[in-house]
Amino acid sequence: MPLIDILNKDIIDLNVQGNTKDEVLRYMANVLLNNGYINDAEVFVKDIYEREAEGPTGMGSHISIPHGKSFSVLKNGIMIGKTVNPIRWESSMSDDGFQDTHLIFLFCVSADAEFARNHMMLLSELAGKLGNDVRVAKLSKAQSKEEIMDLILCEDDQLGEAEVLEEEEIVDLDIDL
C-alpha cells in the first residue's frame, strides 16, 4: 500500500481554531470524529494526553506531533492541522522546554495492535519523513493542502533547498562510551 493511502484531504485543515493546545486538540478530535476516524472525541483526547504526559511532542520548526493509541480509533490516519494562532507546546528542541506551534501532525492510531499493524507501516514511513530538516522547514511554510501532501509524498532528493530554522550546532555531549 503506498503512502498516499494514509493521507486524506478531508482531515487536513488549514484553519484550526483555538488559542491553547487543549483547544486545538479538541478541535482536531472533532474533525476526526466527523470524518469517521474515531467514535469518541473525549476518549481520544484523553489518550493523546496520556502520551503527552510521557514526554514532549513539539519537534521544533513550529511543528508538533501529538499521538497516542486509543480504542476510540475506528480508522488509522493522520490529521494535519495548520493553526490560526501560535500554540504554546512542550518541546524537545528548545532550551526552555516550549515552542510556538503552527503545524500539527496528529497521529490517529488504534490501540488494537493487530488492527493497527498494516497502517503502522505507513504511519512509520510518514513519521520517518519528518526526520528530514529540509522537509520540515518547507512544511512549516506550506500554504495549501496540495503543497503539504506533495512535501510528504516526495522523495528526499526532490525536496530542493530550504533554510533550516533550527540548524544544529555540533557540540561535545556528555555521554559514556
Binding site: G55, M93, F107, I170, V171
Partner: protein, 104 residues
C-alpha cells in the same frame, strides 16, 4: 566508522522513526556508515544482522523503553542515550562518539 543503532520510544509511533531518520542523515553527513533498527508499533524493522553487529565500531541505543534483543550486542561498545538526545542533537551525538572512540 561503522555504526549500528536501535531506536525505541514509548508509544512506538513517531519518535522511533523520526530519530532513525535523523541519525541516518547525521551519520551520512559526517561521513559514516550507519544502519538503524527501529523497534516500534510496526514491529522490528531494518533488523540488524549478526554480521552488521560484528562489523560495527559502536552501537547506539536511543530509547525511552527497554531495547529488545539487547543480548545481541554483548561485548560491543555501547552508547546509551534517551530519544530526546538524538532528536535534538543527532550530529553532536555522532561527532562526540567519533572523538571518544579516537581517544581510546
Amino acid at each position: 566508522m561503522k555504526i549500528v543503532a536501535v531506536t525505541a520510544c514509548t508509544a512506538g509511533i513517531a519518535h522511533t522513526y523520526i530519530v532513525a531518520e535523523k541519525l541516518q542523515k547525521a551519520a551520512e553527513e559526517l561521513g559514516h556508515d550507519i544502519k538503524v533498527e527501529t523497534q516500534g508499533s510496526a514491529g522490528i524493522e531494518n533488523e540488524l544482522t549478526a554480521e552488521d553487529i560484528a562489523n560495527a565500531d559502536v552501537v547506539i541505543y536511543t530509547h525511552d523503553i527497554a531495547i529488545r534483543g539487547a543480548n545481541r550486542f554483548a561485548g560491543k561498545k555501547i552508547v546509551d542515550v534517551p530519544i530526546s538526545t538524538a532528536m535534538k542533537q543527532p550530529k553532536s551525538l555522532i561527532s562526540t562518539i567519533e572523538k571518544k572512540l579516537a581517544a581510546k
